[in-house]
Symmetry: C2
Subunit: 457 residues, 2 copies
């Protein structure tokens, strides 16, 4: 039996899988924050191409992947699947552990799966530039690469504190042709107003989003792009799970458990939704587990409410599990998981008990990551260590129960740009993760009362 399961270029999926078609309860509609009535798609047109807006509201089961997009996917897809033979041995578990490795992409994560699709649809409508925000830099890197592939400009507003702390991420975006600005910047009214009040502001994702949106809205040849949360972003990521299913079939085992890190939902949706389809349409019972940081526990301790997608309150109101858009998570190293809410589709699935969620603390994540490095030889991104920690827990349970379950997880990216975090762990200086009190969560969710629709209260 091969340790690595490869597919051919012909096996790159031809369709994105839209789980909305198979959900027993469809997601509730986004609301206009003023009227608190469902928004109409045309409101999104200044920022997104028509095709992506249609995908955002689609209930078609499958949406065809354009040939041009598949051709670019072929630069790194299908991604390999590995059986974690050495980790299994180290854990002395009867479990079979498989991982899908998305770190082989040009940006080193799963993010280009949607970045390439989004760049394509924008290009097809004559757009010349895409703006976006980025925190740690994974998304900005993916979009820079995707725009380069289609000969478009990419402008990235990078939170200033990350811009200063992660110069190599910024250079990586530059090598792919991305223009990177520290946010707040002087390029937008939003940035200037922040800088006027505090010339030394270290920025926030909320400010960076405002800058990127303002920049796109004020330029008729520019659009804006998001790297997670939205339905069309989750949709594009489902190629991960579709490939994984073919690979598991080749391995001769179907997973009993599918595990992925959880930030806004695209990582988890990407690998889990095609397997979840088997539960929804074929009576299977595959457990799909989303793993979030203990310090940002929207799935395990948040509430299902209408909330803004961003921290500034610019987006429509979305029905989701949330900690409140004012919630400020600890500065943990898994920057991609520090988001206050869960995407609309995933939230509905959790509400309907169709998926599970667990949380893990940072120390445990890095311990799991280190065990993975020393057995499997791959440096996982801090985000990915969350999945690994949960996998190890499940594998240990298999040993205790004497049951040989098959576990699949999404190794969503490599950690070559996160060595400083590993050094902190190795030198015993990992810190910064605060306990989240029930009362703080209650307070920030209570503040949402004013935004709920009458019908939903």
């Amino acid at each position: 039996m091969d340790r690595k399961i490869n597919l051919t270029e012909q096996e790159i999926p031809r369709f994105y899988y839209n789980i909305v078609a198979d959900m027993p309860n469809k997601p509730l509609p986004p609301l206009h924050p003023g009227t608190r009535q469902p928004i109409t798609p045309d409101l999104l047109e200044p920022l997104f191409p028509r095709e992506l807006i249609l995908q955002e509201v689609s209930s078609e089961q499958y949406i065809q992947i354009p040939d041009e997009v598949r051709k670019i996917y072929a630069q790194w897809r299908p991604t390999p699947m590995f059986r974690a033979v050495n980790l299994e041995k180290a854990l002395n578990t009867p479990a079979r552990i498989y991982y899908k490795y998305e770190g082989v992409s040009p940006a080193g994560s799963h993010k280009p799966n949607t970045a390439v699709a989004q760049a394509f649809y924008n290009k097809a409508e004559g757009i010349k530039k895409i703006t976006t925000e980025t925190g740690a830099g994974q998304w900005g890197t993916a979009l820079s690469y995707a725009c380069q592939m289609f000969g478009m400009e990419c402008e990235v507003f990078m939170v200033k504190v990350s811009y200063d702390q992660k110069p190599y991420r910024k250079i990586l975006m530059n090598t792919f042709g991305g223009k990177v600005h520290a946010s707040p910047s002087n390029l937008t009214a939003a940035g200037r107003s922040i800088l006027e009040a505090d010339p030394f502001s270290s920025g926030s994702l909320g400010i960076a989003i405002s800058e990127a949106i303002e920049r796109a809205a004020s330029d008729p040849t520019a659009h804006y792009a998001l790297g997670s949360v939205l339905n069309h972003v989750l949709l594009h990521q489902t190629i991960i799970g579709q490939e994984a299913m073919v690979q598991m079939e080749k391995a001769g085992y179907m997973p009993d458990i599918v595990i992925a890190p959880f930030g806004g939902g695209s990582n988890f949706a990407g690998i889990a939704f095609p397997f979840l389809k088997l539960n929804l349409t074929d009576n299977q019972k595959i457990r799909c587990i989303a793993v979030e940081p203990e310090s940002c526990p929207k799935l395990t301790r948040g509430e299902f409410r209408y909330d803004f997608g961003d921290t500034m309150g610019l987006t429509p109101l979305l029905p989701m599990y949330t900690l409140g858009h004012d919630f400020m998570p600890s500065p943990i190293h898994a920057g991609g998981l520090r988001y206050h809410g869960a995407g609309v589709i995933v939230s509905q699935l959790l509400k309907d008990n169709l998926i599970e969620a667990v949380s893990v603390n940072q120390q445990r994540c890095f311990e799991a990551g280190m065990q993975f490095i020393r057995t499997e030889g791959i440096i996982p991104a801090p985000e990915a260590t969350h999945a690994i920690a949960a996998v190890i827990d499940e594998a240990n349970r298999c040993r205790e129960e004497g049951t040989a379950r098959t576990i699949l997880f999404n190794l969503c990216g490599h950690g070559y740009f996160d060595m400083a975090a590993y050094e902190m762990f190795l030198s015993g200086k990992l810190n910064g993760e605060k306990q989240v009190s029930d009362s703080s969560i209650k307070d920030s969710i209570k503040a949402l009362d004013q935004f709920q629709p009458i019908m939903n209260q």
Copy 2:
């Protein structure tokens, strides 16, 4: 036709290919620096396991790869081969360009191919610890990983200036369990004597080698390991070319030209020797081109002389193309190519006109690297950009001549730990490469006169 050509685990080579068996003129023997007589293998026993010493002097055509080693190779091997479709299009060339990508290994380069083999043979003889030196850190990373896989200690003496400048490389070694010391250190007599004379010494590869050797020689359970130059190191790397040959067969084209970066020889030997075999035993005419930096031009401007393998003069005298062991190359970013000489086997092949060599300047290498990033989506290590520059030259020639040649090159590693170098290039601040004058080469080679054997003069 697939852009990516994968092989299965069963296709990992079962033998290392030893080109010595097929060479028309065998390499001259290494000499004892005192007697200037050929050395006997037993002199190497305090530092290397018997099996590796036998490989060093073997003339068997094939040497079997142990099962345990193949099992570890399977963590990342066979490595993928890609057709550079987008680069071809950007160059508007009729050439077919293929690359073998060794950057998918745990250490991010081709180095683990030999590190794993060396760790295995040491472990088999009861050795508990391997010491080595490292400059930029690629080799130290590979050996740390390999030792971790066999449950052995790894102690790395890292040149102090690199230790300070490349903290992330050091942490990477730590994550694989390697113990890393800044060299000169207080752990050895060699280190202490340097520090006594200059407490702020920034170290050199020569000093680090002395420390690693002293440390191994003074501990009966420890051995020493080298990452290039020696025959057995080149031997282990031939799995690259063997895999590449099967992949080219699957692609339906055999290469007319094989290109690789050149430091000490293992990168070039790895991909080229199995193809060169076809020239030596089957009358084929595949051009094999080694690419060196203009600032360290041992193949294109050095002389074939007996010289020491290290800068301090500790090793046996080796017959090789050299710039003299005192030659001090510019501090270019491709640290792995800053070696004064060429391995014995490669030197003999060049002397017999069986391979070719070209040199490229650093500016041109980074331009080529950037073109590669923006077409193929992979960040190459600075070493690898040398091959890319030569590939682009050959592809342009194909366009001018209207000839559709097939070009294969070794993309030996990724550049995720070299972003600072790319930033310098992008900001127009790349510098540090000095012109090498004929007289400086002549002087440092002249100094070798005292070390030549009577018979060879």
